[in-house]
């Protein structure tokens, strides 16, 4: 799935990374606990989170993730946007809640990272 399709499916606002919207991603994970995200490396490319602080960007950076979706309409700060831009990470923002956002992406073919 292209990141641009994620944007469409989640009716999300693009915050930064317009030049990377055509990148392909295959897996995602959703969590507000960054240590849980860091515990399972399976080439997840997309992180959905309701948490908004710079550590969400750092976590994605360490994991080589390409895209972060902030759910429940959460707005990242300017610092976070700058950091994500520097690290080539696309930021999206959706009003959907976590469960619904994950469900929609799963239904459209994006898989969880554990290979299940």
């Amino acid at each position: 799935m292209k990141i641009s399709e994620i944007q469409t499916i989640l009716n999300a606002e693009l915050i930064c990374g317009a030049d990377l919207l055509e990148s392909e991603v295959f897996t995602a994970c959703g969590s507000d606990m960054m240590s849980d995200v860091l515990a399972f490396v399976k080439e997840q490319a997309v992180l959905l989170s309701g948490l908004v602080n710079p550590q969400v960007i750092r976590t994605a950076e360490m994991m080589d993730m390409k895209c972060i979706v902030f759910v429940r309409g959460k707005k990242p700060s300017m610092d976070m946007i700058d950091l994500a831009t520097e690290r080539d990470i696309v930021l999206l923002r959706s009003d959907l809640e976590m469960f619904t956002a994950c469900g929609l992406l799963y239904k459209h073919g994006l898989k969880g990272g554990s290979g299940i």
Partner: protein, 140 residues
């Protein structure tokens, strides 16, 4: 090739900066051409260690030594020390306060994650003196 040595200071009073050193180390290793999975494993381990330094120990320093065979990292702090290391290593054990949990950490997964992503992990710690975590990742 001679070993490359790098040194980073980790500030203890700014959670928003936590991870800066780890990001630099990651980019350094990438630049040196190490395989992606090795770079990522080191990055995750050192990031969890850096977060711990900030939330539990008031900051510290990270020393890195890189050779073609092995990446060694020493994470050194002068924090409160860890009274019971085997307990601290248990998944889910955490003394992190609620405000840290609200920031997405404090799940008690940091030390287990560090162990998982490295080939060697030795914790030297003394209550009231500090903690040094020695890590090694071998390049196969």
């Amino acid at each position: 090739m001679e070993a490359i040595k790098l040194h980073y200071d980790v500030s203890g009073n700014d959670f928003t900066c936590a991870g800066e050193a780890s990001g630099k180390i990651k980019r350094e290793l990438k630049g040196l051409g190490f395989p992606n999975d090795i770079v990522r494993n080191v990055a995750i381990a050192v990031y969890e260690g850096e977060i711990n330094m900030v939330i539990h120990a008031g900051g510290g320093v990270i020393d890195v030594e890189i050779t073609p065979e092995c990446i060694s990292l020493d994470l050194i702090d002068e924090g409160p020390g860890i009274p019971d290391v085997s307990l601290a290593m248990k998944e889910g054990f955490s003394t992190a306060p609620e405000n840290v949990r609200q920031l997405g950490f404090g799940a008690g997964m940091g030390l287990p994650n560090i162990k998982k992503y490295t080939d060697e992990m030795i914790i030297d710690t003394e209550v009231g003196v500090g903690t040094t975590i020695h890590l090694k990742v071998y390049i196969k």
